[in-house]
Subunit: 463 residues, 2 copies
Amino acid sequence: MAVESAVEFAAGNGERFVEELTALLRIPSVSTDPERVGDVRKAAQFVADELARIGMENVHLIETTTPTHNGHPLVYADWLHVPGKPTVLCYGHYDVQPAEPLELWKSPAFEPEIRDGNIYARGAVDDKGQMWMHVKALESLMTAHGGKLPVNVRVIVEGEEEVGGEGIAAFVREHGDQLKADVALVSDTEMFAPELPTLCVGLRGMIYTEIEVNSARGDLHSGIFGGAAPNSFIGLAQIIAKLKDENGRILLPHVYDKVQQPTEAELEAWKKLPFDEEEYREKEVGTSALTGEPGYGVLHRLWARPTLEVHGMPGGFIGAGAKTVIPAKAVAKVSMRLVPDMTPAETFALLRDYVATIVPKGCTVEVRMIHSGDPIVISTDNHFVTAATEAMKTVFGKDTVFVRGGGSIPIVGDFVRELGIPTVLMGFGLPDDNLHAPNEKFNLSNFHRGIESIVRWLELVGA
Amino acid sequence: MAVESAVEFAAGNGERFVEELTALLRIPSVSTDPERVGDVRKAAQFVADELARIGMENVHLIETTTPTHNGHPLVYADWLHVPGKPTVLCYGHYDVQPAEPLELWKSPAFEPEIRDGNIYARGAVDDKGQMWMHVKALESLMTAHGGKLPVNVRVIVEGEEEVGGEGIAAFVREHGDQLKADVALVSDTEMFAPELPTLCVGLRGMIYTEIEVNSARGDLHSGIFGGAAPNSFIGLAQIIAKLKDENGRILLPHVYDKVQQPTEAELEAWKKLPFDEEEYREKEVGTSALTGEPGYGVLHRLWARPTLEVHGMPGGFIGAGAKTVIPAKAVAKVSMRLVPDMTPAETFALLRDYVATIVPKGCTVEVRMIHSGDPIVISTDNHFVTAATEAMKTVFGKDTVFVRGGGSIPIVGDFVRELGIPTVLMGFGLPDDNLHAPNEKFNLSNFHRGIESIVRWLELVGA
């Protein structure tokens, strides 16, 4: 059978696949860094070249720069020669988060190193490693089928996922016809636990904002003005302290009004997942106490309740030593995670309007939206999901668990809204992979099993 | 009389004095800039050469570099030939702040320009111009007295005032015997208003600290962990919001216990000073509302009440755009200004102990002292102060006002503690001289009247 021959090909070429991934991980395609524009494009070209080499067609970069957006290119490819069979849209991203703080990496972020069966590098699992599984599954099938595929396939790989994905969102909105498909495959999530095949069926949305406080005409000397002039950082701290209570409940009026309660069946299933709160607190978070909304379990809070976080507070004096300035301007990067049926626009308005009621004396405050994404929930009763559980049962020997993700993958909402197609979120990361943090890794066994799972899934979708 | 002849000499040579100051101001002796080390030394040598030329003795540079400190030299000189008369220690500094932002200067920072009776340049008033008044007063007296002075004089001029003054502090501590004197003269302050002779008789002290919050083993993805993991920045904001109330009253228990109430006479005198709170709010601070402890006037808050400020909050993500990280570590640079009889050690303990009682859930907190300085109040009932008011009355035709400063001049505390001598803070700057800012200036009429005031004061001290 062709599928077994594809699986065999993948197994026999696994070492080469890792070497190729290593080369891709060496490219510091940090999409948020203006100095890395060239590296980001280099990563795009790397992916495009490989798609062309394995036999995909119409391979090209799609520019996303517009008069108002300095974009990174999309990589597109397709192979559409089995009429009557479904079309699968494989999505991934080749851009990565910044690697800072560099000093906390055991091996340099862009010099991949294999230790204990894991490959360590920025982007290892998010998402270069997982996107590469798609490419290698396609290569394996293409070889086993003598230059053909069992289904129609389109590939779209973006370079702005870590900076909001504006370019692909515009492309999906304006050129949806060029991405016509029956289902999307996204591998940018994780397994609930090692050895436990997992499908993600819900994702939180988000709004990412900046709250800026201004308190004076300019920076002032704290000796000369301290005691009379307002301080933008103290004002901002007072605002932040009023956004959440000390347990973690969000204090914006009406913020919980639209929150959908998960079904009883879903809540029951979550209770059966292998989850030890004490171990999670100590090992995964590494804190003396978890926080969060009282009255809800950890998984419920992470997957089906909104949250609000502060990511950093630019402005003022942050160098070594002492500078006695009263900063005139302070900014907080504040995001909120949303769940169905919250919407970004409504939630941003709640935040902005509430902040306007708690402006500290002597300060002016502006709340800006940086980007946003819708929350989604995916139904589990369709052929594509069934095929995924079947494929992973063969590879892992276990039934798939359905979980939600606390994070956001805005493109999944775009696929639903603009293309009208469901997404299968089949991811092979692990909870301790250090996404967006130092020492990001990807388990190589999961890389190989991921390729096999995708090979088998594509074959079943085309059966 | 010799004093009138000295005043006449100063008047007749005023133009030359300004030309010499101009040459000194051309030397960009920015002490914080490693590339200006040569210029800083050039300025030291310029001062030393002039002290030697006018007849001061033992003129030499004192190196301050140690294995742990990359220092700029002190300039020393003395003339000690009137036994039985007091010894005056003249202090000043020849280093300056950086000139950035350069584009905001109307004429270049190191190309002095005279406009509207002011000399514009970095260091014009802080402190080259004011230090030069000392040198020129000594020259005038030396000439009038036929190569002698009416009192014993030591001169010490430092080159690290703008970077913490570590070198002179160590010298005063370790070689105080070489600076033996009865009183110090410092001209590094300002007049309360034009035409208003002013003595500064109090300075606030300070503690400069860092408050560090840690909340997790490392940075975490806000999608995956948001809702369960504590957030170091939110925890730190909650702490800061509890340090001061919304009016600006400091919430540390017992922080006001040791605060000395100014005398009724001092409070009365402050009320008579020409101060328009509304103009101060709008022009000097540039804010919609002043803040501060209820129940105290602005000058009282600035001069005789402690304050607490946040200067910046390093850590987390502060780049452009969006990064969805829950930062594991957040730091706030927090300083407090102290007034008599507060001490840095006691105040730091109050801060540290109070913060320990408000540690947010899931966080650990450390409070570190970076540096500190004692607050001081100078008594006004001594011969040196009386001589100063008398001298300035002759020059300005007005009674001196006694004010305090909200900032710190740590060397004044060192003179009290290490040398056991009072300081006369006779300064001739103006409130709009733009210290540490673009377009720094010094009023030339104040330069000349300052020289005359110092000539008359030295004569009276020796009378």
